[in-house]
């Protein structure tokens, strides 16, 4: 067999990157609109961040500093895998520090540390269509977006309130972008939704299997759907991180034994580490 084939900078060939960049530009021009793109086969399985990886590959430059998180953490296996992929195929500098990164690829979280204008956050998206579970057919949901026909979503939220007393969506909580498109924020907890509003960083969303890219330009209005008498609530497990004592960060639950023992800790590992280095270890 021949030698290992030569791969381009950041794996994708330049023509593919150009195609993806065009889709990204269109997505930025129409905030919240799901732009179809010719998603490629990637050397990792669909559903594991192929959309995010393609977006990152298309925007990555040699000067960029990349951070990859999964569930808020830099050291979860898939985050490590994707970070290694770009370290290997693009040779870019990587970091776990949120402020140092110019591109942050994420799955299921937005960092606790506020993002800045110099940053781009790339979300991995499994199901980009917020109306999908109300209407399985793509032809129909595209029409509904075109007509701004979001009645079913409001009915669904209303039914939640009627049945459960409140809106029974804890993650992937739908938002309206720039007063036009209803958008799926990817399966981030709704705790993170307010961070999307008027965010100084460019937010890009890539869904590889579903072949869609969408975007929120910097300083764009992003509103979580709600009702006047049932306003959006940002929920969080009450309690403090057992490592850094934070009472503000989003917490993960960890089972410590099989007798019902449990502990809580920050899901954003970088935030937690920084907090600990400031205050010193807890006794």
């Amino acid at each position: 067999m021949s030698d290992l084939p030569e791969y381009n900078f950041a794996y994708l060939d330049e023509q593919t990157k150009r195609m993806i960049r065009r889709a990204i530009l269109k997505a930025i021009a129409i905030p919240g609109y799901q732009t179809p793109f010719a998603s490629r086969e990637m050397p990792m399985p669909y559903g594991w961040g192929t959309g995010g990886v393609q977006v990152t590959a298309a925007i990555l430059g040699t000067d960029d500093v990349l951070k990859v998180i999964d569930q808020g953490s830099d050291d979860t296996t898939n985050a490590v895998s994707i970070r290694k992929f770009f370290a290997r195929t693009a040779g870019v500098r990587t970091t776990t520090r949120t402020p140092e990164a110019t591109i942050i690829q994420t799955r299921h979280r937005i960092p606790e540390t506020a993002l800045g204008e110099h940053q781009v956050i790339v979300y991995q998206v499994p199901i980009p269509e917020p109306l999908r579970f109300l209407e399985p057919r793509e032809t129909e949901t595209r029409r509904m977006h075109a007509l701004e026909d979001y009645g079913v979503m409001h009915v669904k939220l209303y039914e939640d309130i009627a049945q459960h007393g409140h809106i029974a969506t804890a993650y992937a909580y739908p938002v309206k972008v720039d007063e036009r498109y209803v958008m799926d924020p990817s399966p981030t907890p709704k705790f993170d939704n307010p961070k999307m509003n008027q965010c100084p960083a460019l937010q890009l969303f890539g869904a590889g299997r579903e072949k869609r890219i969408y975007a929120i330009p910097p300083y764009t209005r992003v509103v979580s759907l709600d009702f006047e008498d049932h306003p959006f609530e940002r929920t969080r497990i009450s309690g403090a991180c057992s490592l850094c004592n934070s009472t503000k960060a989003f917490l993960d639950e960890v089972i410590t034994d099989d007798q019902g023992g449990r502990a809580f800790m920050c899901s954003d590992t970088d935030y937690c580490e920084q907090a600990r280095s400031r205050i010193g270890p807890l006794s």
Binding site: D3, L4, P43, M44, T77, V80, S81, F133, I255
Partner: protein
Amino acid sequence: MYVAVKGGEQAIDNAHLLLARDRRGDPAVPELSIDQIREQMTLAIARVMAEGSLYEPDLAALAIKQARGDLIEAIFLLRAYRTTLPRFGDCVPMDTADMSIRRRVSAVFKDLPGGQILGPTFDYTHRLLDPDLAIADDERPCPIVASVGAEPVVAPHILQILDREGLVEAPQSGVDAGVEEDLTRTPLEFPACRELRLQALARGDEGFLLALGYSTQRGYGRTHPFAGEIRIGEVELSFVPAELGFEVPLGAVTITECEMVNQFRGSETQAPQFTRGYGCVFGQSERKAMSMALVDRALRANDLGEASGVPAQDEEFVLSHCDNVQATGFVEHLKLPHYVDFQAELALLRQLRDDWSEKRIAKADADRSAKEQQEEAAE
């Protein structure tokens, strides 16, 4: 023109010779041994044993060799062998909590008793072709792994931990009590009980179940699944011979088990609880076990009062079409001679066409004479 082919037997013999020749490939290349297939094609072996419903790696390897790597064909070979075996009884229900664990992951808790054990998985490999593997074996050092798992892992099922708090529905007693009916021995009737459904899914086609499970994730019967736990390892089987009255170990099988935690439900009389989907297959096959768990949960839609008529919830649709030996048989049977039926169709079609032409001609004649009469009247 159809010509009756004489000498069909000779043709078949010749086809078998050609098949044997093609199976062997270039004689200058060494022949594959059963040992090589068993040791180096382990995931193919696993699939053939799972869907062939027979745990016997050597026979699965032989089937794969004989089938030239066509796994459905190999499954068929194994099924056809299995069906000849006598049944001497049911083993004691195996306890997967006692598994010698090789891999065990949970997507719902970061850490848990027994820990997350990645084990041998493709999951975090980059799918870049590795030219090193193309180098002949003896030039490449064998991978050496420091002995992992020297200490036996004690890992209770994560769903059992949730169950203790009542957060998830208790396992159904029917599953616990063991299986009363054997799918391979009694014809399937609808509605089927869950045990029979699970039997059918366990031997169902991986690709078909994958597609159905996938469809539930895309909105065709959504079940809000979380991979509560996936574990792979060896489980001991034992049997109680009636004349002895105590358990005798039979050996161990490698299995993959997947417990999905699905959307909760509750009622006025019952507090909200997560529901379960279950998958269990021979060998290492997470794709199959996970797909099975998704489809199992989807098929419970009727019982849980959430059916919406999508394919994955339709028991009859799923169970009738999930068996690839059946499916491939019926699809490929179209290659068999259909001269007689086709001939009958052909005769019917010709008749219909003749009738059509006659009517058309008759109508044209009638139209013409009517027109002529009109013209005459006008003059």
